[in-house]
């Protein structure tokens, strides 16, 4: 049953902004990075060293702290909006599928969209790097270090699950875009500040992805465990509330 509900959820994405955002948001990031690197190559040049490392680091930082939280907020709000706008909940939940399958399917779709956006970002960055290598020899780009780029992005993908699970519940719990968007923006800004401070950063959940991306290997296991464990708890609690909810 879960797969049947899930395939229906994927069908609903057709012609939606939610689907377009998977391409648009990482490509905006790639284009900005390309433009900055092309015009201001000196930003990344450090004593004649290969510019790949600072470029990649900047991409991961900006994406993880700014673009990704905005994308998660937008995607969860847009997906919930598919049901909220047309008051479709009553019809969807009167179908013979357990309610938890609807909650889990929508969560899976959000995660799939986020991970698809990450794939576009990785692919786009590689293509942009190769173009820069051709067009901007001054950058002194050597062979692209895939490991230092792809690995942090994989860690970001996993450690973002907790934020996704919480934002998913908020979007489904309140039928107003304003609440979901407001919540997402507030925690994103708080996350940026918290990420600057190791003390508060360890207490606040939103900077987990950036810490997973940039921390040394020692801290990564702990961060991943917190993120995955927290995501399971948040998703289970949200699902329980959703199953019990009365649909007016």
């Amino acid at each position: 049953m879960l797969f049947r509900v899930l395939s229906g959820e994927f069908l609903k994405l057709k012609r939606t902004l939610a689907l377009w955002m998977v391409l648009v948001s990482p490509l905006v990031m790639v284009l900005l990075q390309f433009a900055v690197s092309y015009k201001g190559a000196s930003v990344f040049l450090r004593d004649g060293k290969d510019a790949w490392a600072p470029m990649v680091r900047q991409t991961v930082e900006v994406w993880t702290l700014l673009m990704m939280p905005m994308l998660v907020t937008l995607e969860t709000s847009l997906l919930a909006g598919l049901e909220n706008t047309g008051k479709n909940w009553k019809s969807l939940l009167a179908l013979p599928s357990p309610r938890w399958t609807v909650y889990v399917s929508k969560l899976v779709v959000t995660i799939a969209l986020l991970w698809a956006a990450h794939s576009v970002l990785i692919g786009g960055t590689i293509v942009s790097g190769l173009l820069l290598k051709l067009l901007r020899p001054a950058l002194n780009l050597g062979r692209m270090p895939l490991g230092p780029f792809v690995l942090p992005m994989l860690r970001v993908s996993v450690s973002a699950l907790l934020a996704v699970a919480i934002q998913h519940w908020v979007s489904l719990r309140w039928h107003s875009y304003t609440v979901a968007m407001g919540f997402g923006m507030c925690v994103m800004i708080a996350g940026i500040f918290a990420a600057q401070s190791p003390a508060s950063g360890s207490l606040f959940l939103w900077p987990l992805p950036i810490r997973a991306a940039l921390d040394g290997a020692a801290g990564v296991d702990r961060i991943t465990a917190i993120a995955v464990g927290g995501a399971i708890v948040a998703a289970s609690a949200g699902c329980w509330e959703f199953v019990k909810r009365e649909i007016g």
Partner: protein, 301 residues
């Protein structure tokens, strides 16, 4: 209990301590078109939401197809198609894509989409985006969704809401053909008896959360009271005369009104012999709408 498609035992629903539905015991026979009537706010939608498992009754039991809704929710819902108030459609998808979503959940064959599109007359518009549809077309698409799969019961909440007269007529004829043509029992709510009296076989009337009548349309017809209406030249003298002769006559809207319709000829003769001119004499029955309004205590605007 097993003889009924829907059987509820004194279901009630309270919202923040306020009773929305009180001890409603519905009995819906297989193959019937059951009109669930009541003024706005009477508790019809709340009852329907309980029947669809969208909200839980505060007390009482619901059995559908003889099974308890609490314990067999998914098996029961697999046999129920529903259209609750406005049609739930995804405007960015085509009609066919809108039907594909419930079809996948119901695991119905692909050909089912064509079948239901044919029933509601939307075959030609199946590839069009729903955002280009009129409200009537959306309502028909909602009905098509409700008909997908093997549905034995349709629950339609105010299915003609917002439709123009032609749309209402169309929806009515669609509903009328469902029991005989497709073996479906229909439970539909409305706040207007006139909207459903031509299609319904059974009626349940809800007023302030309570079921005040339940029976066949024939039984409801039997509750219509007839009265004799007499128009005379001198109403005061005629009133005195007829009451003095032992008939119970009252004055209403410029006419004399008597409950005893069998005495029409005798009253006429009495009045004429006394020199009172009679210009109107008719036996009149209350309309079903008047019976409905009286039962549900609504006021005619």
């Amino acid at each position: 209990m097993r003889d009924f498609v829907i059987s509820t035992e004194a279901i009630a629903k309270l919202f923040s301590g306020k009773t929305a539905v009180r001890d409603v015991s519905l009995r819906v026979h297989p193959g019937s078109i059951y009109a669930f009537l009541g003024p706005n706010g009477a508790g019809k939608s709340t009852t329907i939401r309980m029947l669809l498992g969208l909200i839980r009754p505060s007390r009482g039991d619901i059995a559908i197809f003889g099974s308890d809704l609490r314990h067999h929710r998914n098996e029961i819902l697999a046999r129920i198609g529903s259209l609750v108030e406005t049609p739930s459609v995804y405007e960015h998808l085509s009609a066919r894509e809108n039907l594909e979503i419930p079809r996948r959940i119901l695991d119905a064959p692909l050909s089912d989409i064509d079948r239901v599109l044919r029933i509601v007359g939307l075959e030609m518009a199946s590839q069009k985006l729903v955002r280009t549809f009129s409200l009537g077309m959306k309502q028909r698409l909602g009905l098509a969704q409700a008909l997908l799969g093997k549905r034995d019961l349709l629950i339609l909440d105010e299915p003609t809401n917002g439709l123009d007269p032609a749309g209402i007529q169309e929806m009515r004829s669609l509903i009328r053909q469902l029991p005989a043509g497709h073996g479906v029992t229909v439970f539909l709510s409305s706040h207007l008896l006139t909207e459903v009296e031509q299609v319904a076989t059974h009626v349940g009337m809800l007023s302030q959360g309570e079921l005040v009548f339940q029976g066949t349309i024939g039984e409801l017809e039997g509750m219509r009271r007839s009265s004799l209406r007499i128009g005379v030249g001198d109403i005061a003298s005629a009133l005195l005369l007829l009451n003095a002769r032992g008939w119970c006559v009252r004055q209403a809207n410029g006419y004399l009104v008597a409950n005893d319709t069998s005495a029409a000829a005798a009253m006429n003769r009495t009045l004429v012999e006394a020199g009172v001119a009679v210009h109107h004499l008719a036996v009149e029955s209350a309309s079903l709408e008047e019976v409905f309004l009286k039962m549900t205590q609504a006021e005619v605007v």
